[in-house]
């Protein structure tokens, strides 16, 4: 069972809507505030995807969905929530002013979790009256299917808040990863940005098209990373002598003049146009909703596939798929 019964979402964009979907699939009632007049339509489109995805997880009867209520004010959305999720645009001043509104209308010990993908929690919480119940809980798209959520404490965050957050997100079928030190962009996005920069160079220099880069990932290391991550992959690559051997063999390569990482490509109009037009050629035949649906079907298939092949206790994606399965079945 979920640890909470009622949550508030402030900001119903792609990430906020993904949170709404995951929460209602867990039977949690969600109160939403978003000033965009188009927000309801956008949230409904995400919910349509998530319902389709969860239905694929099981042939049995579905769980009762939580209710969704769109509210006119932040205050109406958060006033009786047990968890308050902030998913507004990535501007420090905007987020701080939202926290002020939230604090004026909610209990002082209610958890407030920011979905920011890069701003440090200490910066976000610095003006708060009760910063100890604040943390970053950074999810990944599609939020209703991907298990990862990075939990990051700021200087004023209490250990109890992190522990409570861990319990809540675990109960939502997620994998809470507690980031050991506060840094900008946390863990996953730092890795992603590293790849992104290098990919920009490859396209800009005409070494590869966007399609080539995607194929290099999808037909190659992407298939490993859906199950193993970076270090375990190299552990295996080291063969029988293991990780120390691999580091001894691979280490010197770091000194080769291989990457352009020292340099940040200028994302000027020309490069934007090159990438966007290559991307159109690559995937313009599919609408975004269609791509989302295929992506979700593939994720379900991958999660199904991984369920039976464990890496050992506590390390399996299968357990999250089991949990998703559980969620998507009616209780009792």
């Amino acid at each position: 069972m979920a640890v909470i019964a009622r949550a508030a979402i402030v900001g119903g964009g792609v990430i906020g809507a993904g949170w709404i979907a995951r929460l209602v699939e867990n039977g949690i009632d969600v109160y939403v505030y978003d000033p965009d007049p188009d927000a309801i339509r956008k949230v409904e489109a995400v919910l349509e995807n998530s319902r389709h995805a969860y239905a694929k997880l099981t042939n049995g009867p579905r769980h009762r969905e939580g209710h969704i209520r769109f509210c006119e004010t932040v205050s109406a959305a958060v006033s009786s929530a047990e968890l308050i999720v902030e998913s507004v645009p990535e501007r420090l001043d905007l987020k701080r002013s939202v926290y002020a509104e939230i604090e004026a209308a909610s209990g002082e010990d209610v958890l407030i979790a920011s979905s920011t993908s890069g701003i440090m929690p200490s910066d976000l919480q610095s003006d708060m009256a009760h910063p100890e119940r604040f943390l970053v809980a950074h999810p990944f798209n599609p939020v209703y299917l991907l298990p990862l959520v990075e939990l990051v404490a700021g200087r004023a965050t209490s250990p109890g808040s992190i522990e409570l957050a861990r319990e809540i997100y675990h109960s939502l079928g997620m994998h809470p990863l507690i980031v050991k030190k506060e840094i900008e962009a946390f863990i996953a996005d730092r890795l992603l940005e590293a790849v992104w920069r290098e990919a920009l160079w490859l396209v800009k220099d005409g070494v590869a098209t966007t399609q080539d880069v995607d194929d290099a990932v999808r037909y190659g290391f992407g298939l490993r990373w859906a199950q193993m991550g970076v270090f375990d992959t190299y552990r295996v690559a080291g063969g029988e002598p293991g990780m120390r051997h691999f580091l001894a063999q691979f280490g010197p390569c770091l000194k080769w003049p291989w990457t352009k990482l020292m340099d940040v490509p200028d994302l000027d109009d020309e490069l934007v146009e090159l990438i966007a037009s290559q991307s159109d050629e690559q995937s313009g035949h599919l609408g975004i909703r269609e791509m989302e649906r295929i992506r979700d079907d593939n994720l379900i298939a991958i999660l199904h596939g991984l369920r039976d092949n464990d890496w050992g206790a506590g390390r399996t994606l299968g357990e999250h798929e089991e949990r998703l399965l559980e969620l998507s079945k009616a209780p009792g």
Copy 2:
């Protein structure tokens, strides 16, 4: 059917053995040269994995395996091969001297393909008598399951050699990716090295353990990358307004002081020890062969899962899985 009937492998390490496995699963006879007295045992261990993996792909009768012969000299291995694969250690001088031995014993139009993961083909072929039939064909571990092979031409490589290579690797159930310009480390390894450097910093600075980094990948973007790649993922992230919108929104983040990419961490004894001991804690309970087997089972499950969810013509992993299925069934 495979385009060739007989191949030579010079160098039977992890990659060479992976090539052997993929070739014999295609019914191709393979002649192997490796001076390591332990080579036969190591190759057999890889073949055991590949047989297990291909058996999982089908319940039907298996394809007739090609024969393997271990030879005493390079010359005996290559003399009647239709494709010569070089997988010796990554040293330019060693590779060049191997090519001299190969050229002395083989027909002048037989394709010679290096498995190097980083050296430029123009540098490798510069002393050859017939460099036009030389190219880089860079595979990914495990070679018998991962579809990607990067084909890279040097200055002296003929277009016909690239085309023939494309046909041969396609017939082996692979996805040949023709790299448009010769650069060191090609495409996939540049992306991988970018991630590797950033991951080293995260571990060195105590932000994350090796397990945390792997979990951030496995429970998050790794699940997307097994099917979508980098640019399509961001295309979807841009939502309905698409790729140009995403670039406009995300572009400025490049200027944030997020990564340490400008700086290469010193892989000193302390960092090696930190990574190796964390990796032992993470995965020391599994032997490397055991990890390989679980990895392969997961790859099979992922490939099975992706088969039914196409992105459109020519873009599906499913077709490679179909091809693997085909290979693993008896012909006729």
